[in-house]
Symmetry: C2
């Protein structure tokens, strides 16, 4: 975290002393146009506080894991799947992703979706849906439309 107690916000949702990172290694999982910044690597006795930004039309990986996410949207708007429901989200909305719950964040076609996301530093690896899990999710028309980037 460096020696300075204060790190200034810069234009474009960047911060002094905070590196702009890839969301994940290319090819490790499906996603489109997502960046990651670690704001606090070791906060509150074991939490990692990150800022993710999904560019307009982009989406995070559809995945689930034992660890939870606590999210606040900071920029723009979009939709998220949490479990079996799709939610419209905008600035300062709060999202909680419980353990082992399928989730994905999608930016609007014409706006980015930037959000703060809190996780435990010690956490399990995300699981991707297999063919059966994906078919089960897609049997819900609202989820199928969401995963295809369509608004119903």
């Amino acid at each position: 975290m460096g020696d300075e107690p204060v790190r200034r916000a810069r234009e474009g949702f960047r911060w002094d002393g905070v590196e702009l990172l890839s969301y994940k290694d290319e090819g490790s999982a499906p996603f489109r146009d997502v960046t990651r910044q670690v704001l606090f690597a070791d906060a509150a006795g074991g939490a990692e506080w990150r800022y993710f930004e999904v560019a307009a039309g982009g989406w995070s990986t559809l995945e689930r894991h034992e660890h939870t996410h606590a999210v606040m949207v900071l920029r723009g708007r979009g939709r998220c799947l949490v479990g079996l429901r799709v939610h419209e989200v905008g600035e300062r909305d709060l999202v909680e992703v419980p353990p082992l719950t399928w989730h994905q964040f999608r930016a609007a076609p014409d706006a980015p979706l930037g959000f703060l996301c809190l996780v435990s530093r010690v956490r399990d690896r995300p699981q991707l849906p297999d063919q059966q899990a994906l078919a089960s999710l897609r049997s819900n028309p609202a989820i199928a439309a969401f995963l295809d980037g369509r608004h119903r």
Copy 2:
């Protein structure tokens, strides 16, 4: 946190299902015009994610403790003391308060200072400065001016 995975932001930096609380019990410690909202009571395996708002001209308690604060300003502007330095802060600036470091947040005279603050759910009680600690801090003219709400 309730059953809903999404809690919407409302006007005025309030959220659905999030109660507006006193900062502290009146008389327990010196402060002026501060509110507290607990956004996530148990995030990331042991963190509490709060939003504090200091009204224009108000200030949080001058205190220190073993636990750390990870802070992001969300609204308005002001100044904060962290250790022996006073910093101007504004929207999206990040502040880290290390263990046992004197700190205080003061809103500008004409703007609120709202900030996200992450702490461990399990944490020690804040310590207030005794006369000697206060005199030592006040021996620094910049800190004395800050504590008196003066801009030097």
